[in-house]
C-alpha cells in the first residue's frame, strides 16, 4: 500500500476521496457533482432572483409582491375570456335579432345555433333528457315526433323559457291531472277498468277478465275532457296522446294504474332567467332539429 491509501480521507479500494464520515468502518465516498451540473444549478439560482423581481413571488401578510411587469395569471384568464366572448358575440350577432324560424332558414346562423345549442344542451338539459335528447321514463325523448306541449319552434321556445309547472311563473306550462286513486275519485276496480280501456285505445292487448264497458264509461266521464274521446290528447292542455306508440311513463298495466291512481307531475325549470335569449334560441333550434320538430 502506498502512502495516499493510508490517508483516512482517501478510500483505499477505489482511490477516491471520502467525505470523512464513517459508520461502522464504512466511509462515504466523496463524488462531487459534475461542474456543468453545478454551473447550471447556480445559474438557476441567479435566474430565480430575476424572477422574484419581475414576477409576483413573495407572499406578504395580506398580499404578495407584484413584480415589476405586473403580471397576473388571473388577468390573463379575464382577457382570454373577454376575447372569447367578443369572438362569440361576433359569430352570434345575427342571432340576437333573428327569430328561431329565421335562424333555421339561414344556413350560417343554423350552423352556429346547432353548435351553440348542442353545447348548451349538454350543459343544462342532458342531465334529465340525456345526451342527444334520448330521454328516459318520465323525461321526454326530444328526438321523436310526440309532443306534450307542441313541437313548433315557438312552442319549444315557450317551454324552454318558462319550464313546466314552475311555481310563480304565469307563462309556465301547467296541466293538473287528478290523482284519481289517492284523492278517492275512482275505486280500485274502476281504475283497473279504465287502464284496460286506455290499452284498448292504444291498440294494445287487454286481459280477458278486464271490464272494458266499465272502463269506457269511466274514461268518458273522467278522462275524455282533456285526452279527447278517442284518446288523441290535446297539446293546449298538455294532455298526451294515449293512442300512439310513444308513452312517457309506460303503457303496461302497472304503470297505467300508477299514473291514474297518483297522477304524474313532471317538472322542468324555466330557463328564461338563467340562460340568455340567444342561448335559448339556439336550444330551441337544436331541439327542433333533433328530428321531431313541427
Amino acid at each position: 500500500m502506498d502512502q495516499k491509501h493510508e490517508d483516512p480521507h482517501v478510500d483505499a479500494a477505489t482511490g477516491m476521496p471520502t467525505t470523512g464520515h464513517e459508520w461502522d468502518g464504512i466511509r462515504e465516498l466523496n463524488t462531487p457533482l459534475p461542474r456543468w451540473w453545478l454551473g447550471i444549478f447556480y445559474a438557476t439560482i441567479v435566474w430565480s432572483i430575476g424572477y422574484w423581481i419581475v414576477y409576483p413571488a413573495w407572499p406578504l401578510l395580506t398580499d404578495a409582491t407584484k413584480g415589476v411587469i405586473g403580471y397576473a395569471s388571473r388577468a390573463d384568464i379575464s382577457a382570454d375570456l373577454a376575447k372569447l366572448k367578443a369572438q362569440r358575440a361576433a359569430q352570434a350577432a345575427g342571432m340576437t335579432e333573428a327569430s328561431p324560424a329565421q335562424i333555421k332558414a339561414d344556413p350560417t346562423l343554423f350552423q352556429i345555433a346547432m353548435a351553440q345549442g348542442k353545447a348548451a344542451f349538454g350543459d343544462n338539459c342532458a342531465a334529465c333528457h340525456g345526451v342527444g335528447g334520448a330521454g328516459a321514463k318520465g323525461y321526454p325523448n326530444l328526438n321523436d315526433d310526440d309532443w306534450l306541449w307542441g313541437g313548433s319552434l315557438p312552442a319549444i321556445q315557450q317551454t324552454i323559457r318558462h319550464g313546466i309547472r314552475v311555481a310563480g311563473d304565469n307563462d309556465t306550462r301547467v296541466s293538473q291531472m287528478p290523482a284519481f286513486g289517492r284523492d278517492g275519485v275512482l275505486k280500485r276496480e274502476e281504475i283497473a277498468a279504465v287502464a284496460s280501456h286506455v290499452r284498448e285505445l292504444a291498440g294494445l292487448s287487454t286481459e280477458p277478465k278486464a271490464d272494458l264497458p266499465l272502463g269506457r264509461k269511466v274514461y268518458a266521464d273522467n278522462c275524455a275532457a282533456c285526452h279527447g274521446a278517442a284518446g288523441k290528447g290535446n297539446q293546449e292542455l298538455g294532455a298526451p296522446n294515449l293512442t300512439d306508440a310513444i308513452s312517457l311513463y309506460g303503457m303496461d298495466m302497472a304503470s297505467l294504474t300508477e299514473t291514474i291512481a297518483n297522477s304524474r307531475n313532471g317538472v322542468m325549470p324555466g330557463w328564461a332567467g338563467r340562460l340568455d335569449e340567444t342561448t335559448i334560441k339556439a336550444l330551441t333550434v337544436y331541439v327542433h332539429s333533433l328530428g321531431g320538430g313541427q
Binding site: T14, P107, G130, V131, A134, G135, N143, D144, A245, I246
Partner: protein
Amino acid sequence: MSTAEADQDDIPLFAASRKVYPQSVSGPFRRAKWLILVLCLGVYYLLPFLRWDRGPYLPNQAVLADIANNRFYFFFIEIWPQEVYYFTGLLILAAFVLFLMNAVAGRVWCGYLCPQTVWTDLFLSVERFFEGDRRERMRRDAEPWGFDTLWRKVAKHAVWLVIAWWTGGAWVLYFADAPTLVRELATFTAPLSAYVWIAILTFTTYALAGIMREQVCKYMCPWPRIQAALTDDEALNVTYRYDRGEPRVSVKQAAKLKAQGAPAGDCIDCFQCVAVCPTGIDIRDGAQIDCIQCGLCIDACDTVMTKIGRPNRLIAYDTDGNVQRRLAGLAAIYRPVRLRTLVYAALIAVVGGAMLWQLATRSTAGISVLHERAPLFVTLSDGSIRNAYAVRLLNKRPEHRPFALTVSGLPGIRIEAVGIAPSADLRPVVTVDPDSSREVRVLVTVPAGVPLSPSQAITITASDLFAGETVRADDHFIAPESHR
C-alpha cells in the same frame, strides 16, 4: 481497481475528428456536380414561385403544403389528409429507386443529389473563396490568427449564415403563398411560426453544411450502413483499380523497375485523391462506408495521369468483380442488367404503377357515415323506427356540387336530411362547397310493421346530380328489441 484498468477508463470513447481540407479539383465529375448543384438549388429556391391555375377557389401555387387548410398541392394533384398514403407510396418508391441506383452505380444519391452533399459543396466553395485552397487553409489554421485570417473567417461565416438563412427562408415558402409570405417577411408581419422555422432551418443548414459536413455522412446517416449491406461485386462503385495501380512507385522508380522487367504500378502515390476527398479518406483502401462516391478523386487522378502521360481512369467507376477478373487475366464484364436490378426495377414498376392507377382512378367525392349513439333509435308516434346518422360528404373538385342522398336495404326505408328541403323526387339534395366537406344530420326511417332485427345493414348513397359520380357507405339500422 488496478492502475492499468483506471487508465483504460481514461481512453476517450470517441476519436477526435480530424478536420478535412478538401482541395479544389476540376474535371468532368466536378463539372457534373456543379451542374447538379445549380439545378437542385434552383429548383429548391424557385419552385415555390411557380404558379399553377386551379380556378377561383384554390391557391395558384404549383407546390404548396397548405397545413392550415389540410391540403397538399403538387401541380395538378391535390392531396387531402386522408390520402397521405400517397406519401407512403412515394417514400417506398424512393427507397426502391435508391436501391436500384445503388445496384447500378453505387452511391449516386450521396455523391451528387443528397442535400447534405449539395449544401456542403456550396459551403466549401464559399470557404475556398475566402480562405483559399487546401494548403492555404491548413496554413491559416496552423498559425496564430492574424487580422487577415480573422476577417476572412468572419466573412465566411457571415456568408454561410446568409445562405443558411436563405435556405430556411425558401423552406417556409412551401407552406404558404410564396409572394405574399415574402412580402410579409420583408415587412415583419409574417406569422411567428415562419420566423421560427427560418431560424431552425438556418441553424441546421449552418451546422450540417458548415460545421459538421462529412461527419453527417459518417456518423449520422444510416444510408452508408444500408448501402454496404446492399452492394455486390457487380455494382459500379468509385473504385481504385489496384490491379493497375499496385505496386505504387514514383515515375522515376517505375521507369527503372520496368527497365529491369520488374512490376511497377501506375499509382505514383501523389495523394491527390486523398487531398480532394470531401470526407478525407483514401480511396485506395478500397470500398468503405465513409466514401460518398462523389467521383472527385477520379478527376484528381485523371489530372495527374494526364500530366505524366499515363492512361486516365486509374480510379474509375468500376466493379470489384472486374478488378478480380483482370487480376486473373480475364476480360472485364459489365452487367447492369442482372437479377438484383431487374427485381428492383420490377418493384419500382409495380409500386409506381399502383400509385399511378390509384391517382388516375381516385374519386373526387367521398362519403363517411357515423351512426348516432344517443339515442340509437327513436320510436315515432305511428310506430315507425328512426335512426340518425352524421353523414359527411367530401367534394374534392373546385366547384359546387349537389349530392342527392338515397338509402336502401329495408322495405319502405326513407331518408331525410335535417335543415335541407327534399327535391321533387323526395331525395334530399346536399350542396357541398368547392374543395371542402359538409356534414349533415340524416334521419332514416323504417315504417311500422316492417319486421326488424336489433341491427340490420343499410347503404347510404350520394349521387352527384351533374357529374354523375356516386359514392356509398354501409352502416347499420338499429331497432328496439321488442319492435312491434
